[in-house]
């Protein structure tokens, strides 16, 4: 069986979500190819070729593929699908956007957001916001799967796969207009080793940034937020950690002024070490925290800054 992994391209490189998806793919088969999509992606394809365990890299370039719009990605991947028994992509917003479209064209039931490969037709995935885990067996000849990156280790570097050019499809009936990416020197929320998250207790956008940004910078951490803080306008949308936001699993997660609603816990409970700082000793966040400090963040965070030196 051969597996195609659709890379998560990042300019001239590929994100480590790609490496993690390769790890999942290698559990299915030793024959894993990586598809890099987008105009001007040669350097990214060369980067993907260095992932250990990759058989070859396919490079699909066309003007229509520039922003990974679903229609063009679908047409490109469906054209290649004949050679593969499974097609995998990280469960990023891009992957979630185009993978079901590819599956429908192939008349296959997509399997979303897997966290474990049980065998080459059986997978575990969270349902009900992670309050239950479903083990599903697919009877489709071809599998179309998105992979939750935080559930797999990244495949190492050290490969030297060949890069082959394949046909890239033209744009479909949708066109890119613009994008507005949040610029930050901090690590990306989904990939950061340390995440500091703020909740509604912070009270305002000014306070949120005044408290969270220096702490994040000191720790080299990404900043997250609870849905309550995002809905209140204290933090931007893409900071949201939780069922409806990002699912993170860093080595260290520090929750500040977050009570720990089910929907938030669903997005961070797989972190290795969880720290909670909250003045309410009964806050549910303490039930999942390895270390808790009961106290006002206004006192605890400055102390923490000092203790970190």
């Amino acid at each position: 069986m051969a597996v195609l992994v659709i890379a998560d391209r990042d300019g001239d490189s590929v994100r480590d979500t790609t490496h993690k998806t390769v790890t999942a793919a290698l559990k299915l088969s030793g024959d894993v190819d990586v598809l890099v999509i987008g105009q001007g992606s040669k350097a990214a394809a060369d980067a993907a070729a260095k992932i250990a365990g990759v058989r070859k890299v396919l490079l699909a370039e066309s003007a229509g593929l520039g922003h990974q719009l679903a229609e063009a990605v679908e047409a490109t991947v469906v054209g290649l699908a004949g050679g593969y028994d499974a097609i995998l992509s990280p469960a990023t917003t891009d992957g979630k956007n185009f993978m079901p479209r590819i599956a429908a064209k192939l008349d296959v039931a997509p399997i979303s957001d897997i966290i474990e490969v049980v065998s080459n037709d059986t997978f575990v995935r969270p349902i009900y916001a992670g309050n239950a885990l479903e083990t599903v067996q697919s009877s489709d000849g071809k599998k179309v799967i998105t992979v939750r990156p935080t559930s797999f280790d990244a495949a190492a570097e050290g490969g030297s796969a060949k890069v082959e050019t394949v046909a890239g499809a033209d744009a479909g009936k949708a066109a890119f207009v613009s994008e507005e990416m949040v610029k930050s020197d901090r690590p990306e929320l989904g990939a950061a080793k340390i995440v500091v998250s703020g909740g509604r207790a912070l009270g305002s956008a000014e306070e949120f940034h005044a408290v969270m940004d220096p702490l994040a910078d000191k720790l080299g951490a990404a900043v997250g937020a609870s849905r309550a803080a995002v809905d209140a306008g204290y933090a931007p949308n893409d900071y949201q950690v939780g069922q409806t936001g990002k699912v993170v699993a860093p080595a260290l997660y520090i929750a500040i002024g977050i009570s720990g609603a089910i929907q938030h816990l669903a997005g961070m409970k797989d972190s290795k070490v969880i720290v909670a700082i909250n003045k309410d000793a009964d806050a549910p966040i303490f039930q999942v925290a390895d270390y808790g400090i009961v106290g006002d963040y206004k006192v605890v965070v400055p102390e923490l800054m000092k203790a970190l030196g």
């Binding site: 083990t135 720790l219 925290a289």
Partner: protein
């Protein structure tokens, strides 16, 4: 412009799902059920398009048809959408828990009949969490798709949609007819007023059977088991930041 809004009856989002002891699924007996929250946002947006609220010109939508696929009680879900301002409903009755592929095929058959200019639906249901039906429907129809919408502007035969994507926002323009799936921050759905709830009782809900559409809805996936996730046990409380930093250093995460 005609808008079709598919809605799903799911466990209420305030209820914590509990796994059945025999590992066959989640226990839904005597559990409060509601409209999938993302679908509620889709209904709200369609109604605003009709009313001319926010940035939508009045009459952007002229007719809103709500469709649900599910058990008889899903009529209550449709009725909720009618009370919010949708015009008529369609229930495709099914006691089976259909997979997204089957749902997309049924919806395609509905689209072929109803010929809407826009299908507006939630990005995912909060039970299956598949995030797939909208994209699959768009593929089967060969229509463009715009998923995870945080803003929708309809003009000149196009939907200009700002999407919530990893790292920020992306705006794309899709030629109508199109499928748009909505994200959480598109709007805050209204509560239906009592007069509107009364009015909704007189609105039409057609009831059909899956078999009426002649599409293949056979499952492709077998659920082997449904289990509760591993629980995390509460750790320890530490006295102050200095002790915390010491513990984190010992744990090797600092």
């Amino acid at each position: 412009m005609k808008v079709l809004v598919p809605v799903k009856r799911v466990i209420d989002y305030n209820v914590k799902a509990r796994v059945k002891a025999d590992q066959t699924g989640v226990d839904l007996a005597n559990v409060k059920m509601s409209m999938n929250p993302f679908d509620e946002i889709a209904v709200e947006e369609a109604v605003r398009m009709k009313e001319g609220k926010e940035h939508h010109a009045a009459g952007t939508a002229t007719e809103i048809v709500v469709v649900s696929i599910g058990v008889t009680q899903a009529q209550e879900t449709i009725r909720t959408a009618l009370a919010m301002g949708a015009d008529r409903g369609l229930l495709i009755q099914s006691d089976a828990d259909l997979e997204p592929l089957a749902v997309a095929k049924l919806l395609k058959a509905v689209v072929d009949e109803e010929k809407p200019d826009l299908v507006l639906l939630g990005k995912q249901s909060i039970d299956g969490d598949n995030n797939a039906v909208g994209q699959m429907l768009a593929a089967l129809l060969d229509w463009p798709q715009a998923t995870f919408a945080g803003k929708i502007v309809l003009a000149d035969g196009k939907a200009t949609v700002t999407r919530e994507v990893d790292g920020g926002l992306q705006t794309l323009s899709a030629a109508l007819p199109a499928v748009v799936s909505v994200d959480l921050r598109l709007n805050t759905p209204r509560y239906a007023s009592l007069p509107n709830i009364m009015k909704a009782k007189k609105k039409e809900i057609a009831v059909k059977a899956v078999a009426d559409y002649g599409v293949d809805t056979a499952p492709r996936l077998t659920v082997k088991k449904v289990t509760a996730p591993p629980t995390r046990s509460a750790g320890i409380k530490v006295a102050d930041a200095a002790e915390l930093v010491a513990k984190l250093k010992t744990a090797g995460v600092l």
